[in-house]
Assembly symmetry: C2
Amino acid sequence: MTNKKPLDETEWDLWHALKTLSEAGLAAVGSVLETATGLSGSDFGILSRLEDLGDGALSQQRLQASLGWDKSRLSHHLTRMEGRGLLRRVRPASGRGVSLKITQKGRNAVAAARPVHASAVREQVLRHIRPPEAAVLLELVRRMRIPPTNGA
Amino acid sequence: MTNKKPLDETEWDLWHALKTLSEAGLAAVGSVLETATGLSGSDFGILSRLEDLGDGALSQQRLQASLGWDKSRLSHHLTRMEGRGLLRRVRPASGRGVSLKITQKGRNAVAAARPVHASAVREQVLRHIRPPEAAVLLELVRRMRIPPTNGA
DNA sequence: CAAGATTGAACCCTCAATCTTA
DNA sequence: TAAGATTGAGGGTTCAATCTTG
């Protein structure tokens, strides 16, 4: 039995606030990062995982599981990143699938981006959130039981 | 002087929770809506504004201000919605700009979508938030004074 | 001229279909 | 065959350039 009545003003305000909070915060961090480093949030997520989870190399499977992305989205994105020289696709000698290796250019890019990312997250988002508010947000996300995405 | 150190675990957990909320949690509402009604969250935001703010007609200017969208994004989106017969563009007799009028098909679509949207928002999100928590979140967003976003 | 709107190119995401190889 | 990856089409978003009209 779900309630079909329109959202009242209180409900709508809260829904809108949550949407705005998470979307605007994410967009602001991505924008700072991309402008300053040339890496999008997605690029950064991939390159930092190659280093942090695999010391520079990782199977596409593991990367996909960590990101929680559609396989097609990941394949398209890897094609673009490979074209920009940030990583290479390698067919492993034995076993199916594909392995990803970060290039030197990729290492340089992610090294430059790490401090920018950290300070953008603090400046654009975390700075505004006080501990009790953080607790509420963490609890909300936990209660929503959203399927996991690991990593940066 | 911005802090360039990597995010600590507490910082990272909160950042990740916000990312997850936006990318997976709130997206679920849009997904339910689109599957059940054929309207995306954006479509719904536009059509419901035409009815709620203008009784079926609205200047593109006012709509743009309410959505907080880029004018180009809005123009492209209106072209697609006009092609689907959900609204019409009309050049007002006097004055510059364009006026949008919802069609009967658009009225039917948004009428069918309203209860689906309301119950999806409640089921996926609001259900998990207790009143004191809602107050905390509203206060947080108000303090951040975030520019208006998306509808739906 | 300037406000308001459109266009085109480039990029990103999703879905379904297809290819590759153990 | 089935797991793993790629492809192509189609919608969505952004940026800069362009058109339109008071």
